[in-house]
Protein backbone atom coordinates (compact mmCIF):
# COMPACT_ATOMS: atom_id res chain seq x y z
CA UNK A 1 0.00 0.00 0.00
CA UNK A 2 3.08 2.22 0.23
CA UNK A 3 2.31 3.28 -3.31
CA UNK A 4 -0.22 5.82 -2.07
CA UNK A 5 0.73 9.47 -1.76
CA UNK A 6 0.74 10.34 1.93
CA UNK A 7 -1.33 13.44 1.33
CA UNK A 8 -4.26 11.21 0.45
CA UNK A 9 -3.71 8.82 3.33
CA UNK A 10 -3.41 11.44 6.04
CA UNK A 11 -6.22 13.88 6.34
CA UNK A 12 -6.22 16.01 9.48
CA UNK A 13 -8.19 13.58 11.64
CA UNK A 14 -6.09 10.53 10.81
CA UNK A 15 -2.85 12.47 11.29
CA UNK A 16 -4.00 13.52 14.75
CA UNK A 17 -5.03 9.97 15.52
CA UNK A 18 -1.69 8.50 14.49
CA UNK A 19 0.22 11.06 16.53
CA UNK A 20 -1.91 10.34 19.60
CA UNK A 21 -1.40 6.62 19.06
CA UNK A 22 2.36 7.12 18.85
CA UNK A 23 2.41 9.18 22.04
CA UNK A 24 0.34 6.51 23.72
CA UNK A 25 2.66 3.76 22.52
CA UNK A 26 5.67 5.58 23.93
CA UNK A 27 4.14 7.03 27.09
CA UNK A 28 2.56 3.91 28.57
CA UNK A 29 5.70 1.70 28.53
CA UNK A 30 7.77 4.59 29.86
CA UNK A 31 5.36 5.24 32.68
CA UNK A 32 5.23 1.53 33.43
CA UNK A 33 8.90 0.60 33.20
CA UNK A 34 10.83 3.77 33.99
CA UNK A 35 8.60 5.59 36.46
CA UNK A 36 8.96 4.05 39.97
CA UNK A 37 5.90 2.30 41.38
CA UNK A 38 5.88 4.83 44.21
CA UNK A 39 5.28 7.71 41.81
CA UNK A 40 1.70 8.76 41.10
CA UNK A 41 2.50 8.70 37.39
CA UNK A 42 3.34 5.02 37.41
CA UNK A 43 1.13 2.90 35.16
CA UNK A 44 0.51 -0.54 36.60
CA UNK A 45 1.22 -3.61 34.49
CA UNK A 46 -2.45 -4.48 34.83
CA UNK A 47 -3.28 -1.26 33.01
CA UNK A 48 -0.69 -2.00 30.32
CA UNK A 49 -2.37 -5.33 29.60
CA UNK A 50 -5.77 -3.61 29.71
CA UNK A 51 -4.72 -0.96 27.19
CA UNK A 52 -3.22 -3.68 25.02
CA UNK A 53 -6.61 -5.35 25.05
CA UNK A 54 -8.32 -2.11 24.02
CA UNK A 55 -5.90 -1.68 21.13
CA UNK A 56 -6.75 -5.16 19.84
CA UNK A 57 -10.46 -4.40 20.15
CA UNK A 58 -9.86 -1.17 18.24
CA UNK A 59 -8.35 -3.24 15.43
CA UNK A 60 -11.37 -5.51 15.43
CA UNK A 61 -13.64 -2.46 15.31
CA UNK A 62 -11.60 -1.11 12.41
CA UNK A 63 -12.04 -4.36 10.47
CA UNK A 64 -15.80 -4.26 11.07
CA UNK A 65 -16.07 -0.61 10.11
CA UNK A 66 -14.26 -1.31 6.85
CA UNK A 67 -17.01 -3.67 5.68
CA UNK A 68 -20.00 -2.21 7.48
CA UNK A 69 -19.25 1.47 7.29
CA UNK A 70 -17.93 1.48 3.75
CA UNK A 71 -19.44 -1.53 2.01
CA UNK A 72 -22.66 -1.87 4.01
CA UNK A 73 -21.93 -5.48 4.93
CA UNK A 74 -23.04 -5.98 8.54
CA UNK A 75 -21.22 -9.05 9.82
CA UNK A 76 -22.47 -10.37 13.15
CA UNK A 77 -19.79 -13.04 13.08
CA UNK A 78 -16.57 -11.08 13.02
CA UNK A 79 -15.76 -12.29 16.50
CA UNK A 80 -15.23 -15.67 14.83
CA UNK A 81 -12.31 -14.37 12.75
CA UNK A 82 -10.92 -12.62 15.81
CA UNK A 83 -11.14 -15.86 17.79
CA UNK A 84 -9.63 -17.98 14.99
CA UNK A 85 -6.62 -15.68 14.87
CA UNK A 86 -6.49 -15.95 18.63
CA UNK A 87 -6.57 -19.75 18.54
CA UNK A 88 -3.79 -19.83 15.96
CA UNK A 89 -1.66 -17.74 18.31
CA UNK A 90 -2.82 -19.81 21.26
CA UNK A 91 -1.67 -23.00 19.53
CA UNK A 92 1.76 -21.48 19.02
CA UNK A 93 1.93 -20.47 22.67
CA UNK A 94 0.81 -23.94 23.76
CA UNK A 95 3.58 -25.54 21.76
CA UNK A 96 6.05 -23.13 23.38
CA UNK A 97 5.13 -24.50 26.83
CA UNK A 98 6.88 -27.71 25.83
CA UNK A 99 7.69 -29.97 28.76
CA UNK A 100 6.90 -27.29 31.34
CA UNK A 101 3.27 -28.36 31.34
CA UNK A 102 1.67 -30.13 34.30
CA UNK A 103 2.16 -33.48 32.57
CA UNK A 104 5.58 -32.38 31.30
CA UNK A 105 4.86 -33.85 27.87
CA UNK A 106 7.33 -32.27 25.43
CA UNK A 107 4.95 -32.48 22.48
CA UNK A 108 1.35 -32.77 23.63
CA UNK A 109 -0.36 -29.84 25.35
CA UNK A 110 -1.69 -30.74 28.79
CA UNK A 111 -5.33 -31.08 27.77
CA UNK A 112 -4.40 -33.65 25.14
CA UNK A 113 -2.45 -35.68 27.67
CA UNK A 114 -5.36 -35.33 30.03
CA UNK A 115 -7.74 -36.67 27.34
CA UNK A 116 -4.95 -39.22 26.68
CA UNK A 117 -4.57 -38.47 23.01
CA UNK A 118 -1.92 -40.77 21.48
CA UNK A 119 -0.13 -38.11 19.46
CA UNK A 120 -0.45 -34.55 18.17
CA UNK A 121 -3.26 -34.15 15.61
CA UNK A 122 -2.07 -33.14 12.15
CA UNK A 123 -3.48 -29.61 12.26
CA UNK A 124 -1.31 -28.87 15.28
CA UNK A 125 1.84 -29.57 13.32
CA UNK A 126 4.02 -26.59 12.54
CA UNK A 127 2.58 -24.38 15.23
CA UNK A 128 5.81 -24.67 17.16
CA UNK A 129 7.29 -22.36 14.50
CA UNK A 130 6.23 -18.75 14.99
CA UNK A 131 6.43 -18.01 11.26
CA UNK A 132 3.98 -20.81 10.49
CA UNK A 133 1.65 -19.68 13.26
CA UNK A 134 1.84 -16.11 12.01
CA UNK A 135 0.89 -17.32 8.54
CA UNK A 136 -2.06 -19.28 9.93
CA UNK A 137 -3.19 -16.26 11.95
CA UNK A 138 -3.86 -14.46 8.69
CA UNK A 139 -4.65 -17.45 6.49
CA UNK A 140 -7.26 -19.31 8.51
CA UNK A 141 -9.66 -16.40 9.11
CA UNK A 142 -8.98 -15.16 5.59
CA UNK A 143 -9.77 -18.52 4.07
CA UNK A 144 -12.98 -18.98 6.04
CA UNK A 145 -14.08 -15.46 5.10
CA UNK A 146 -13.21 -16.10 1.46
CA UNK A 147 -15.18 -19.35 1.22
CA UNK A 148 -18.09 -17.96 3.20
CA UNK A 149 -18.15 -14.69 1.27
CA UNK A 150 -17.74 -16.45 -2.04
CA UNK A 151 -20.97 -18.35 -1.40
CA UNK A 152 -22.82 -15.45 0.16
CA UNK A 153 -21.98 -12.62 -2.22
CA UNK A 154 -22.14 -14.67 -5.37
CA UNK A 155 -25.72 -15.69 -4.57
CA UNK A 156 -26.40 -12.07 -3.61
CA UNK A 157 -27.28 -12.72 0.01
CA UNK A 158 -27.43 -9.24 1.51
CA UNK A 159 -28.78 -7.20 4.41
CA UNK A 160 -30.16 -8.98 7.44
CA UNK A 161 -29.92 -12.38 5.76
CA UNK A 162 -26.18 -12.00 5.58
CA UNK A 163 -26.04 -10.73 9.15
CA UNK A 164 -28.03 -13.69 10.40
CA UNK A 165 -25.99 -16.33 8.62
CA UNK A 166 -22.74 -14.74 9.77
CA UNK A 167 -24.14 -15.02 13.28
CA UNK A 168 -25.07 -18.64 12.64
CA UNK A 169 -21.52 -19.20 11.41
CA UNK A 170 -19.87 -17.99 14.60
CA UNK A 171 -22.50 -19.85 16.64
CA UNK A 172 -21.66 -23.09 14.85
CA UNK A 173 -17.94 -22.52 15.41
CA UNK A 174 -18.60 -21.90 19.09
CA UNK A 175 -20.45 -25.18 19.45
CA UNK A 176 -17.59 -26.90 17.67
CA UNK A 177 -14.79 -25.44 19.74
CA UNK A 178 -16.63 -26.30 22.94
CA UNK A 179 -16.14 -29.96 22.05
CA UNK A 180 -13.07 -31.68 23.43
CA UNK A 181 -12.57 -33.93 20.42
CA UNK A 182 -12.04 -30.85 18.24
CA UNK A 183 -8.58 -30.71 19.76
CA UNK A 184 -8.66 -27.10 20.93
CA UNK A 185 -8.99 -27.69 24.64
CA UNK A 186 -12.79 -27.78 24.79
CA UNK A 187 -14.45 -25.16 26.96
CA UNK A 188 -11.26 -24.44 28.90
CA UNK A 189 -9.64 -23.37 25.66
CA UNK A 190 -5.92 -22.73 25.55
CA UNK A 191 -4.15 -21.10 28.50
CA UNK A 192 -1.24 -21.26 30.96
CA UNK A 193 1.03 -19.81 28.31
CA UNK A 194 4.68 -19.61 29.29
CA UNK A 195 6.54 -17.55 26.73
CA UNK A 196 6.38 -16.03 23.27
CA UNK A 197 9.44 -15.88 21.01
CA UNK A 198 11.46 -16.83 24.07
CA UNK A 199 10.21 -14.02 26.31
CA UNK A 200 7.99 -14.81 29.27
CA UNK A 201 4.43 -13.59 28.58
CA UNK A 202 4.20 -12.57 32.23
CA UNK A 203 7.25 -10.30 32.16
CA UNK A 204 6.55 -6.55 32.24
CA UNK A 205 8.94 -6.08 29.33
CA UNK A 206 7.01 -8.53 27.17
CA UNK A 207 3.69 -6.97 28.10
CA UNK A 208 4.89 -3.53 27.08
CA UNK A 209 6.42 -4.95 23.92
CA UNK A 210 3.07 -6.57 23.10
CA UNK A 211 1.30 -3.27 23.73
CA UNK A 212 3.68 -1.44 21.39
CA UNK A 213 3.34 -4.19 18.78
CA UNK A 214 -0.45 -3.90 19.01
CA UNK A 215 -0.20 -0.14 18.57
CA UNK A 216 1.96 -0.58 15.48
CA UNK A 217 -0.43 -3.21 14.12
CA UNK A 218 -3.33 -0.85 14.74
CA UNK A 219 -1.51 1.99 13.03
CA UNK A 220 -0.72 -0.22 10.02
CA UNK A 221 -4.25 -1.55 9.68
CA UNK A 222 -5.52 2.00 10.04
CA UNK A 223 -3.27 3.10 7.18
CA UNK A 224 -4.35 0.12 5.10
CA UNK A 225 -7.99 1.02 5.69
CA UNK A 226 -7.28 4.65 4.88
CA UNK A 227 -5.50 3.58 1.73
CA UNK A 228 -8.48 1.50 0.72
CA UNK A 229 -11.27 3.93 1.51
CA UNK A 230 -9.48 6.86 -0.09
CA UNK A 231 -8.64 4.86 -3.21
CA UNK A 232 -10.96 4.54 -6.17
CA UNK A 233 -11.70 1.09 -4.76
CA UNK A 234 -13.06 2.79 -1.65
CA UNK A 235 -15.26 5.05 -3.72
CA UNK A 236 -16.62 1.97 -5.46
CA UNK A 237 -17.31 0.36 -2.08
CA UNK A 238 -19.33 3.36 -0.94
CA UNK A 239 -21.12 3.33 -4.27
CA UNK A 240 -22.00 -0.32 -3.68
CA UNK A 241 -23.18 0.50 -0.17
CA UNK A 242 -25.50 3.25 -1.34
CA UNK A 243 -26.66 1.92 -4.72
CA UNK A 244 -25.57 -1.63 -5.36
CA UNK A 245 -27.64 -2.14 -8.50
CA UNK A 246 -26.43 1.12 -10.02
CA UNK A 247 -22.81 0.21 -9.37
CA UNK A 248 -23.28 -3.19 -10.91
CA UNK A 249 -24.79 -1.44 -13.88
CA UNK A 250 -21.74 0.80 -14.20
CA UNK A 251 -19.90 -2.44 -14.94
CA UNK A 252 -18.31 -3.17 -11.55
CA UNK A 253 -18.31 -6.79 -10.35
CA UNK A 254 -19.89 -6.03 -7.00
CA UNK A 255 -19.36 -9.50 -5.52
CA UNK A 256 -15.63 -9.36 -6.27
CA UNK A 257 -15.33 -6.07 -4.40
CA UNK A 258 -17.31 -7.34 -1.44
CA UNK A 259 -15.36 -10.57 -1.32
CA UNK A 260 -12.02 -8.80 -1.33
CA UNK A 261 -12.87 -6.36 1.41
CA UNK A 262 -14.63 -9.01 3.50
CA UNK A 263 -11.62 -11.32 3.36
CA UNK A 264 -9.18 -8.53 4.11
CA UNK A 265 -11.28 -7.43 7.05
CA UNK A 266 -11.34 -11.01 8.36
CA UNK A 267 -7.52 -11.22 8.19
CA UNK A 268 -7.30 -7.95 10.10
CA UNK A 269 -9.65 -9.31 12.76
CA UNK A 270 -7.49 -12.45 12.91
CA UNK A 271 -4.34 -10.45 13.62
CA UNK A 272 -6.19 -8.48 16.29
CA UNK A 273 -7.22 -11.74 17.93
CA UNK A 274 -3.67 -13.07 17.74
CA UNK A 275 -2.30 -10.03 19.56
CA UNK A 276 -5.14 -10.19 22.06
CA UNK A 277 -4.45 -13.73 23.29
CA UNK A 278 -0.96 -13.35 24.77
CA UNK A 279 -2.06 -10.18 26.55
CA UNK A 280 -5.09 -11.72 28.24
CA UNK A 281 -3.35 -15.09 28.60
CA UNK A 282 -6.25 -17.25 27.46
CA UNK A 283 -8.44 -18.04 24.47
CA UNK A 284 -11.60 -20.12 24.84
CA UNK A 285 -14.73 -20.84 22.78
CA UNK A 286 -16.75 -18.10 24.47
CA UNK A 287 -14.85 -15.72 22.17
CA UNK A 288 -17.04 -17.16 19.42
CA UNK A 289 -20.24 -16.23 21.26
CA UNK A 290 -22.55 -14.26 18.94
CA UNK A 291 -22.89 -11.66 21.68
CA UNK A 292 -19.23 -10.68 21.36
CA UNK A 293 -19.52 -10.06 17.64
CA UNK A 294 -22.58 -7.87 18.03
CA UNK A 295 -20.92 -5.99 20.88
CA UNK A 296 -18.01 -5.22 18.56
CA UNK A 297 -20.50 -3.87 16.03
CA UNK A 298 -21.88 -1.46 18.60
CA UNK A 299 -18.36 -0.09 19.24
CA UNK A 300 -18.32 0.96 15.61
CA UNK A 301 -21.85 2.34 15.77
CA UNK A 302 -21.01 4.41 18.84
CA UNK A 303 -17.81 5.80 17.39
CA UNK A 304 -19.30 6.50 14.01
CA UNK A 305 -19.78 3.97 11.23
CA UNK A 306 -17.97 4.94 8.07
CA UNK A 307 -15.32 6.91 9.90
CA UNK A 308 -12.16 4.95 10.71
CA UNK A 309 -11.18 7.13 13.66
CA UNK A 310 -14.73 6.69 14.90
CA UNK A 311 -14.39 2.90 14.97
CA UNK A 312 -11.22 3.16 17.08
CA UNK A 313 -12.72 5.78 19.37
CA UNK A 314 -15.87 3.69 19.81
CA UNK A 315 -13.86 0.62 20.76
CA UNK A 316 -12.01 2.63 23.42
CA UNK A 317 -15.04 4.44 24.82
CA UNK A 318 -17.29 1.41 25.09
CA UNK A 319 -14.59 -0.87 26.47
CA UNK A 320 -13.45 1.72 28.95
CA UNK A 321 -17.05 2.04 30.06
CA UNK A 322 -17.23 -1.74 30.30
CA UNK A 323 -14.12 -1.89 32.50
CA UNK A 324 -15.43 0.97 34.58
CA UNK A 325 -18.79 -0.68 35.15
CA UNK A 326 -17.83 -4.33 35.42
CA UNK A 327 -15.19 -3.74 38.08
CA UNK A 328 -16.89 -2.86 41.34
CA UNK A 329 -20.37 -2.37 42.70
CA UNK A 330 -21.70 -1.04 39.37
CA UNK A 331 -21.28 -4.38 37.63
CA UNK A 332 -24.96 -5.43 37.76
CA UNK A 333 -25.81 -2.31 35.77
CA UNK A 334 -23.36 -2.80 32.93
CA UNK A 335 -25.77 -4.78 30.74
CA UNK A 336 -28.37 -2.05 31.18
CA UNK A 337 -25.81 0.47 30.00
CA UNK A 338 -24.70 -1.68 27.07
CA UNK A 339 -28.27 -2.48 26.07
CA UNK A 340 -29.22 1.15 26.41
CA UNK A 341 -26.25 2.03 24.26
CA UNK A 342 -27.48 -0.19 21.43
CA UNK A 343 -30.88 1.46 21.50
CA UNK A 344 -29.73 5.02 22.08
CA UNK A 345 -27.13 4.95 19.33
CA UNK A 346 -29.44 3.49 16.69
CA UNK A 347 -32.29 5.82 17.61
CA UNK A 348 -30.57 9.06 18.53
CA UNK A 349 -27.04 8.93 17.15
CA UNK A 350 -27.19 6.90 13.91
CA UNK A 351 -23.99 8.53 12.70
CA UNK A 352 -22.06 7.91 15.91
CA UNK A 353 -19.85 10.36 17.79
CA UNK A 354 -17.37 11.24 15.06
CA UNK A 355 -20.01 11.11 12.33
CA UNK A 356 -22.25 13.57 14.16
CA UNK A 357 -19.25 15.75 14.93
CA UNK A 358 -18.21 15.81 11.26
CA UNK A 359 -21.77 16.56 10.23
CA UNK A 360 -21.72 19.62 12.49
CA UNK A 361 -18.48 20.82 10.95
CA UNK A 362 -19.20 20.26 7.29
CA UNK A 363 -21.41 22.80 5.53
CA UNK A 364 -25.08 22.51 4.71
CA UNK A 365 -24.56 20.75 1.40
CA UNK A 366 -23.74 17.50 3.20
CA UNK A 367 -27.01 17.56 5.05
CA UNK A 368 -28.47 15.45 2.29
CA UNK A 369 -26.24 12.70 3.72
CA UNK A 370 -28.38 12.17 6.75
CA UNK A 371 -31.19 11.34 4.36
CA UNK A 372 -28.93 8.64 2.95
CA UNK A 373 -28.22 7.09 6.32
CA UNK A 374 -31.14 4.67 6.13
CA UNK A 375 -30.26 3.59 2.61
CA UNK A 376 -26.68 3.10 3.65
CA UNK A 377 -27.98 0.64 6.20
CA UNK A 378 -29.57 -1.73 3.73
Amino acid sequence: MGAFPLTRLLDKASAIFLVLLAIFAIAIPTLNLLVPVSSGLHVSTYLVALFGKYICFAMLALSIDLIWGYAGILSLGHGAFFALGGYAMGMYLMRQIGSRGVYANPILPDFMVFLNWPELPLYWYGFNHFAYAALMIVLVPGLLAFVFGWFAFRSRVTGVYLSIITQAMTYALMLGFFRNNFGFGGNNGLTDFKDILGFSVQADGTRNALLVTSCIALALSFLICRGIVTSKFGKVLVAIRDAEARTRFLGYRVEAYKLFVFTLSACMAGVAGALYVPQVGIINPSEFAPGNSIEAVIWVAVGGRGTLTGAVLGAFVVNYAKTFFTTGWLSPYWLFVLGGLFIAVTLLLPRGIIGTFELRRTDKRNLSLSAEAPRAAE
Partner: protein, 251 residues
Amino acid sequence: MEPKTTSALLYLDGITVSFDGFKALNDLSFLIEPHEMRAIIGPNGAGKTTMMDVITGKTRPDAGDVYFQQGAYDLSKLDETEIAELGIGRKFQKPTVFDIHTVEDNLLLALKNDRRVRATLLWENTSAQMRRIDDILDTIRLAPLRSRVAGSLSHGQKQWLEIGMLLAQEPKLLLVDEPVAGMTDAETMQTAALLKEINRDKTVIVVEHDMAFVRELGVKVTCLHEGSVLAEGTIDQVSTNDRVVEVYLGR
Protein backbone atom coordinates in the same frame (compact mmCIF):
# COMPACT_ATOMS: atom_id res chain seq x y z
CA MET B 1 -32.84 -9.11 -44.00
CA GLU B 2 -29.57 -10.75 -42.93
CA PRO B 3 -28.48 -8.92 -39.77
CA LYS B 4 -24.74 -9.30 -40.45
CA THR B 5 -25.05 -6.91 -43.35
CA THR B 6 -27.12 -4.19 -41.72
CA SER B 7 -25.62 -0.75 -41.67
CA ALA B 8 -27.63 0.07 -38.53
CA LEU B 9 -25.85 0.62 -35.22
CA LEU B 10 -28.83 -0.86 -33.42
CA TYR B 11 -31.12 -3.31 -35.12
CA LEU B 12 -34.31 -4.59 -33.52
CA ASP B 13 -36.44 -7.05 -35.44
CA GLY B 14 -39.68 -8.72 -34.33
CA ILE B 15 -38.98 -8.31 -30.63
CA THR B 16 -41.69 -9.79 -28.44
CA VAL B 17 -41.67 -9.75 -24.65
CA SER B 18 -44.61 -10.89 -22.57
CA PHE B 19 -45.06 -10.84 -18.81
CA ASP B 20 -47.58 -13.47 -17.73
CA GLY B 21 -49.71 -13.22 -20.82
CA PHE B 22 -49.55 -9.46 -21.26
CA LYS B 23 -47.42 -8.52 -24.28
CA ALA B 24 -45.18 -5.61 -23.25
CA LEU B 25 -43.48 -5.68 -26.65
CA ASN B 26 -45.29 -7.09 -29.65
CA ASP B 27 -43.18 -7.75 -32.76
CA LEU B 28 -41.29 -4.47 -32.33
CA SER B 29 -38.86 -3.58 -35.11
CA PHE B 30 -36.80 -0.49 -35.87
CA LEU B 31 -33.29 0.65 -36.79
CA ILE B 32 -31.00 3.31 -35.44
CA GLU B 33 -28.30 4.48 -37.83
CA PRO B 34 -24.88 5.54 -36.48
CA HIS B 35 -24.79 9.17 -35.21
CA GLU B 36 -28.55 9.41 -35.34
CA MET B 37 -30.64 10.87 -32.54
CA ARG B 38 -34.09 9.36 -32.13
CA ALA B 39 -36.95 10.45 -29.90
CA ILE B 40 -39.35 7.76 -28.71
CA ILE B 41 -42.82 8.73 -27.51
CA GLY B 42 -45.93 6.81 -26.62
CA PRO B 43 -48.68 6.59 -23.99
CA ASN B 44 -48.38 4.60 -20.77
CA GLY B 45 -47.68 0.91 -21.27
CA ALA B 46 -46.55 1.42 -24.85
CA GLY B 47 -43.42 -0.58 -24.00
CA LYS B 48 -40.80 2.17 -24.01
CA THR B 49 -39.09 1.06 -20.82
CA THR B 50 -39.30 -2.63 -21.74
CA MET B 51 -37.59 -1.81 -25.04
CA MET B 52 -34.77 -0.15 -23.12
CA ASP B 53 -34.55 -3.20 -20.85
CA VAL B 54 -34.21 -5.48 -23.85
CA ILE B 55 -31.44 -3.37 -25.39
CA THR B 56 -29.49 -3.22 -22.13
CA GLY B 57 -29.94 -6.93 -21.41
CA LYS B 58 -32.08 -6.44 -18.30
CA THR B 59 -34.89 -8.33 -20.00
CA ARG B 60 -34.52 -11.21 -22.46
CA PRO B 61 -36.83 -11.09 -25.50
CA ASP B 62 -39.13 -14.08 -25.97
CA ALA B 63 -38.65 -13.72 -29.72
CA GLY B 64 -36.82 -11.50 -32.20
CA ASP B 65 -33.28 -10.26 -32.84
CA VAL B 66 -31.35 -7.43 -31.21
CA TYR B 67 -28.09 -6.69 -33.00
CA PHE B 68 -25.55 -4.02 -32.21
CA GLN B 69 -22.87 -2.45 -34.38
CA GLN B 70 -23.83 -3.46 -37.88
CA GLY B 71 -24.97 -6.83 -36.59
CA ALA B 72 -21.65 -7.63 -34.94
CA TYR B 73 -23.14 -8.49 -31.55
CA ASP B 74 -26.32 -10.33 -30.63
CA LEU B 75 -27.40 -8.45 -27.52
CA SER B 76 -29.95 -11.09 -26.57
CA LYS B 77 -27.02 -13.39 -25.75
CA LEU B 78 -25.08 -10.97 -23.50
CA ASP B 79 -25.65 -9.92 -19.89
CA GLU B 80 -26.00 -6.40 -18.52
CA THR B 81 -22.34 -5.90 -17.71
CA GLU B 82 -21.12 -7.21 -21.07
CA ILE B 83 -23.55 -4.98 -22.93
CA ALA B 84 -22.44 -1.98 -20.89
CA GLU B 85 -18.85 -2.83 -21.81
CA LEU B 86 -19.85 -2.99 -25.50
CA GLY B 87 -20.66 0.71 -25.30
CA ILE B 88 -24.37 0.97 -24.63
CA GLY B 89 -25.05 3.41 -21.81
CA ARG B 90 -28.41 4.00 -20.20
CA LYS B 91 -29.77 6.86 -18.14
CA PHE B 92 -32.65 5.86 -15.91
CA GLN B 93 -35.81 7.93 -15.43
CA LYS B 94 -35.03 8.62 -11.80
CA PRO B 95 -31.54 10.08 -11.49
CA THR B 96 -29.39 7.60 -9.58
CA VAL B 97 -26.14 9.45 -9.06
CA PHE B 98 -24.10 8.48 -5.99
CA ASP B 99 -25.39 11.15 -3.64
CA ILE B 100 -22.54 11.20 -1.15
CA HIS B 101 -19.79 11.25 -3.76
CA THR B 102 -18.68 14.54 -5.30
CA VAL B 103 -19.64 15.36 -8.88
CA GLU B 104 -16.04 14.62 -9.85
CA ASP B 105 -15.96 11.23 -8.12
CA ASN B 106 -19.26 10.29 -9.74
CA LEU B 107 -17.64 10.86 -13.11
CA LEU B 108 -14.45 9.12 -12.00
CA LEU B 109 -16.41 6.00 -11.10
CA ALA B 110 -18.17 6.09 -14.45
CA LEU B 111 -14.99 6.77 -16.44
CA LYS B 112 -14.26 4.04 -18.97
CA ASN B 113 -11.54 2.02 -17.28
CA ASP B 114 -10.50 -1.34 -15.91
CA ARG B 115 -13.28 -2.26 -13.49
CA ARG B 116 -11.41 -5.03 -11.67
CA VAL B 117 -10.52 -4.90 -7.98
CA ARG B 118 -6.78 -4.73 -8.48
CA ALA B 119 -7.05 -1.87 -10.92
CA THR B 120 -9.21 0.27 -8.65
CA LEU B 121 -7.03 -0.49 -5.62
CA LEU B 122 -3.84 0.68 -7.31
CA TRP B 123 -5.61 3.45 -9.19
CA GLU B 124 -3.73 6.68 -9.77
CA ASN B 125 -5.35 9.72 -11.38
CA THR B 126 -3.60 10.49 -14.66
CA SER B 127 -3.69 13.88 -16.31
CA ALA B 128 -5.34 12.31 -19.35
CA GLN B 129 -8.26 11.13 -17.26
CA MET B 130 -8.44 14.42 -15.43
CA ARG B 131 -8.70 16.17 -18.76
CA ARG B 132 -11.40 13.74 -19.84
CA ILE B 133 -13.35 14.58 -16.69
CA ASP B 134 -12.87 18.29 -17.25
CA ASP B 135 -14.23 17.96 -20.78
CA ILE B 136 -17.31 16.14 -19.57
CA LEU B 137 -17.82 18.67 -16.78
CA ASP B 138 -17.78 21.40 -19.39
CA THR B 139 -20.17 19.52 -21.64
CA ILE B 140 -22.68 18.97 -18.85
CA ARG B 141 -22.16 22.51 -17.52
CA LEU B 142 -21.15 21.36 -14.01
CA ALA B 143 -17.49 22.43 -14.04
CA PRO B 144 -18.03 24.98 -11.23
CA LEU B 145 -19.71 22.34 -9.07
CA ARG B 146 -17.10 19.61 -9.54
CA SER B 147 -16.34 19.25 -5.81
CA ARG B 148 -19.94 19.53 -4.64
CA VAL B 149 -21.60 16.45 -3.19
CA ALA B 150 -23.96 15.07 -5.82
CA GLY B 151 -26.78 14.77 -3.29
CA SER B 152 -26.89 18.53 -3.02
CA LEU B 153 -27.43 19.18 -6.74
CA SER B 154 -30.74 20.36 -8.14
CA HIS B 155 -32.86 17.85 -10.00
CA GLY B 156 -31.81 19.17 -13.38
CA GLN B 157 -28.14 19.15 -12.41
CA LYS B 158 -28.46 15.54 -11.23
CA GLN B 159 -29.94 14.60 -14.58
CA TRP B 160 -27.01 16.23 -16.33
CA LEU B 161 -24.50 14.54 -14.06
CA GLU B 162 -26.24 11.30 -14.89
CA ILE B 163 -25.78 12.06 -18.57
CA GLY B 164 -22.19 13.02 -17.87
CA MET B 165 -21.61 9.65 -16.20
CA LEU B 166 -23.03 8.10 -19.31
CA LEU B 167 -20.58 10.03 -21.46
CA ALA B 168 -17.71 9.04 -19.18
CA GLN B 169 -18.29 5.43 -20.18
CA GLU B 170 -17.62 6.53 -23.74
CA PRO B 171 -20.61 4.66 -25.10
CA LYS B 172 -21.35 4.40 -28.77
CA LEU B 173 -25.07 4.48 -28.02
CA LEU B 174 -26.83 6.45 -25.28
CA LEU B 175 -30.27 5.49 -24.05
CA VAL B 176 -31.81 8.47 -22.25
CA ASP B 177 -35.05 7.82 -20.36
CA GLU B 178 -37.24 10.86 -19.59
CA PRO B 179 -34.37 13.29 -19.09
CA VAL B 180 -36.52 16.37 -18.50
CA ALA B 181 -39.25 15.01 -16.25
CA GLY B 182 -39.55 17.43 -13.34
CA MET B 183 -37.21 20.01 -14.87
CA THR B 184 -37.99 23.70 -15.12
CA ASP B 185 -38.60 25.05 -18.64
CA ALA B 186 -35.12 26.61 -18.68
CA GLU B 187 -33.48 23.35 -17.62
CA THR B 188 -35.50 21.50 -20.25
CA MET B 189 -34.23 23.72 -23.06
CA GLN B 190 -30.64 23.43 -21.77
CA THR B 191 -31.00 19.66 -21.72
CA ALA B 192 -32.16 19.68 -25.32
CA ALA B 193 -29.10 21.71 -26.26
CA LEU B 194 -26.88 19.36 -24.25
CA LEU B 195 -28.21 16.30 -26.02
CA LYS B 196 -27.78 17.89 -29.42
CA GLU B 197 -24.18 18.65 -28.51
CA ILE B 198 -23.62 15.05 -27.42
CA ASN B 199 -25.25 13.82 -30.59
CA ARG B 200 -22.44 15.39 -32.61
CA ASP B 201 -20.30 12.33 -31.99
CA LYS B 202 -22.63 9.84 -30.36
CA THR B 203 -25.81 7.99 -31.23
CA VAL B 204 -28.69 8.84 -28.89
CA ILE B 205 -32.11 7.41 -28.17
CA VAL B 206 -34.35 9.64 -26.04
CA VAL B 207 -37.61 8.56 -24.47
CA GLU B 208 -39.67 11.54 -23.42
CA HIS B 209 -43.28 12.62 -22.94
CA ASP B 210 -42.52 16.32 -22.96
CA MET B 211 -43.50 17.38 -26.48
CA ALA B 212 -42.04 20.86 -26.17
CA PHE B 213 -38.72 19.17 -25.50
CA VAL B 214 -39.12 16.70 -28.37
CA ARG B 215 -39.93 19.56 -30.70
CA GLU B 216 -36.84 21.37 -29.46
CA LEU B 217 -34.71 18.33 -30.32
CA GLY B 218 -36.11 18.40 -33.84
CA VAL B 219 -35.21 14.82 -34.72
CA LYS B 220 -36.96 11.77 -36.11
CA VAL B 221 -39.72 10.59 -33.75
CA THR B 222 -40.96 7.04 -33.22
CA CYS B 223 -44.32 6.62 -31.52
CA LEU B 224 -44.82 3.27 -29.79
CA HIS B 225 -48.21 1.89 -28.89
CA GLU B 226 -49.05 -1.46 -27.29
CA GLY B 227 -45.55 -2.75 -27.83
CA SER B 228 -45.00 -1.94 -31.47
CA VAL B 229 -44.24 1.03 -33.71
CA LEU B 230 -47.36 3.09 -34.43
CA ALA B 231 -45.84 5.92 -36.39
CA GLU B 232 -42.43 7.28 -37.37
CA GLY B 233 -41.31 10.60 -38.86
CA THR B 234 -40.82 14.24 -37.94
CA ILE B 235 -42.61 15.52 -34.86
CA ASP B 236 -45.15 17.31 -37.06
CA GLN B 237 -45.89 14.23 -39.13
CA VAL B 238 -46.31 12.13 -36.03
CA SER B 239 -48.37 14.61 -34.03
CA THR B 240 -50.80 15.06 -36.92
CA ASN B 241 -51.07 11.33 -37.50
CA ASP B 242 -54.69 10.49 -36.65
CA ARG B 243 -53.90 7.17 -35.00
CA VAL B 244 -51.29 8.82 -32.80
CA VAL B 245 -53.73 11.53 -31.80
CA GLU B 246 -56.27 8.82 -31.10
CA VAL B 247 -54.06 6.75 -28.84
CA TYR B 248 -53.09 9.87 -26.97
CA LEU B 249 -56.69 11.00 -26.55
CA GLY B 250 -57.90 7.56 -25.63
CA ARG B 251 -58.45 3.98 -26.64
